[in-house]
């Protein structure tokens, strides 16, 4: 554990779980939809629903959707800034079974009309966990370089995708595949030991049947 996990992070208050973590959730939803979010429907669960208003959780989530970092002093004004940027948002509450008490479900649409639904929780210290993606269960935090590949569920896809990663000399530490039988969609989450370069994303995107590729590199969250 680094001493800067003890003295730090620098953040906008009041709560690492309900404010800083909420910013991170918004950021990850932004990365997963890709491009610029124009519409968001955010459902708060558990303690986010009951104490979120006083913690600025909704403002923090919207700030994250715009790519702000958890220490950005514009977070308290995120609603106003979203209005200027043309990001429409609405909030509601939801009951999530088996989820951590600090959770939210974000449905985000970008300027191209693409949509993603992200379920995430904020267990503390500003860390987060994505537990569902487009209705499928998953588990990743974005604390290590992570590739998220959404594709048609076809034989051979996993080996083709991991082949691209391995060919770049990138070590995979974890691979998780979830399939939606009805939709014929699969989601691959690949955690890596090294930063994932842009060309890996491009090469995987070129594979037939791949619908969307997201790469999360720690330290590049605000892009």
């Amino acid at each position: 554990m680094s001493i800067f996990d003890i003295l730090g992070p620098v953040m906008v208050g009041p709560s690492s779980s309900h404010t800083a973590g909420a910013v991170r959730m918004g950021q990850i939803a932004r990365r997963l939809v890709g491009g610029e979010p124009v519409r968001a429907r955010i459902l708060l669960a558990g303690s986010f629903a009951s104490t979120g208003a006083g913690h600025g959780t909704p403002r923090a989530l919207v700030a994250g959707l715009m790519g702000f970092m958890p220490d950005d002093e514009r977070i308290p004004r995120s609603f106003e800034i979203a209005g200027e940027r043309g990001l429409a948002y609405e909030f509601g509450t939801v009951q999530l079974r088996d989820a951590h008490p600090n959770s939210a479900l974000l449905t985000v649409e970008n300027e191209r009309g693409e949509r993603v639904e992200v379920g995430a929780s904020s267990p503390g210290g500003g860390r987060i966990l994505v537990f569902s993606l487009d209705g499928l269960p998953t588990a990743f935090s974005g604390e290590v370089p992570t590739l998220i590949v959404r594709c048609e569920d076809r034989p051979g896809h996993v080996s083709r995708v991991t082949g691209v990663v391995a060919a770049q000399g990138i070590n995979m530490s974890k691979l998780r595949v979830e399939r939606d039988e009805r939709g014929g969609t699969a989601i691959m989450v690949i955690e890596c030991d090294q930063r994932i370069p842009y060309k890996v994303k491009m090469a995987i995107s070129a594979i037939e049947g791949v619908r969307k590729v997201t790469r999360l590199n720690p330290g590049e969250e605000s892009k």
Binding site: I6, M11, H55
Partner: protein, 289 residues
């Protein structure tokens, strides 16, 4: 240099290397994080800079979203300016600084979690006024932050720095122990004096419940930063005077962890017990949270 997970190991490392404790903390972290000493120093200097700018940017008109807090730091400053304060310039300024930082956090300003956002006022409330009153340069304050971080790291590893896990003793208590070591460093005290200071500070806050009204980091959190800061100062003064803690720091930290494990969940940030469950606390918890 090898790693440490207890106060006795940290003292042994620093004595064996013939280095001050703060330097041992820095070097160990640099080795572990693969960071240069210059980068580490710059990062710590940035923590101090954020603390200072939050303190300077305090706005007494600002209120939290819940309406529970704001303005008390201003009241304290007015009172100090009136010249009627009983406690003298240093302690008076510490009280004001702790309130101001806690209110900054509640009002969505930029702060340094130290070790948590709820306890973010303790360290700056000790360091900034001491630095001013004693006329110390920033370098001394940065060294003190390293010393504080070393003790915080040990507490986080051996017990906890989370109110949800171990109650407020783990947040305000840990911050106070860290700050007391920092004060000893300001006076170039020894590692052993820092260990005694941290032990004395933490002992005085053992058992403190985490019972935030409405589940918000405001009541009692903001004002608990004041006792965390003042308690750190008194513990450090005792340690600098040569007074020792009969129970060594490592054992005090272990006791804190054990007490945390024994605490009912109603006293661990769930807003189900203590102040949160009082008649008035419940009023604020309903609909205002």
């Amino acid at each position: 240099m090898s790693d440490y997970s207890s106060v006795s190991q940290l003292l042994a490392l620093s004595e064996a290397a013939g280095l001050p404790l703060w330097k041992t903390v820095q070097i160990t972290d640099c080795a572990e994080q693969n960071m240069s000493e210059a980068d580490s120093w710059a990062k710590m200097a940035d923590m101090l800079a954020v603390m200072k700018s939050a303190d300077a940017g305090y706005d007494r008109r600002q209120r939290s979203l819940s309406g529970l807090s704001g303005g008390d730091g201003g009241k304290m400053e007015d009172y100090l300016a009136s010249g009627r304060a009983v406690s003298g310039p240093l302690v008076g300024r510490m009280i004001a600084a702790a309130l101001k930082m806690g209110e900054c956090n509640a009002c969505m300003k930029r702060i340094v979690a130290a070790p948590t956002a709820g306890a973010c006022g303790v360290l700056p409330a000790v360091l900034l006024p001491c630095g001013e009153v004693l006329g110390l340069p920033d370098e001394k304050l940065i060294e003190a932050l390293y010393a504080a971080a070393g003790f915080g790291r040990i507490i986080a590893g051996k017990a906890s720095i989370s109110g949800a896990q171990s109650g407020c003793q783990a947040e305000i208590g840990s911050a106070s122990a860290m700050a007391s070591a920092a004060v000893v460093q300001l006076r170039d005290g020894t590692g052993r004096q820092m260990a005694n200071a941290a032990a004395l500070a933490l002992k005085s806050l053992l058992g403190l419940a985490c019972d935030p009204v409405g589940g918000l980091v405001e009541v009692p959190c903001i004002k608990r930063n004041v006792i965390g800061a003042v308690n750190a100062l008194t513990a450090a003064e005792m340690a600098l005077a040569g007074i020792e803690s009969r129970i060594p720091a490592d054992e005090v930290i272990e006791a804190m962890g054990e007490i945390g494990d024994m605490m009912p969940s109603s006293l661990r940030e769930t807003a189900q017990g203590g102040l949160a469950a009082t008649e008035t606390g419940r009023k604020w918890g309903n609909g205002n949270g």
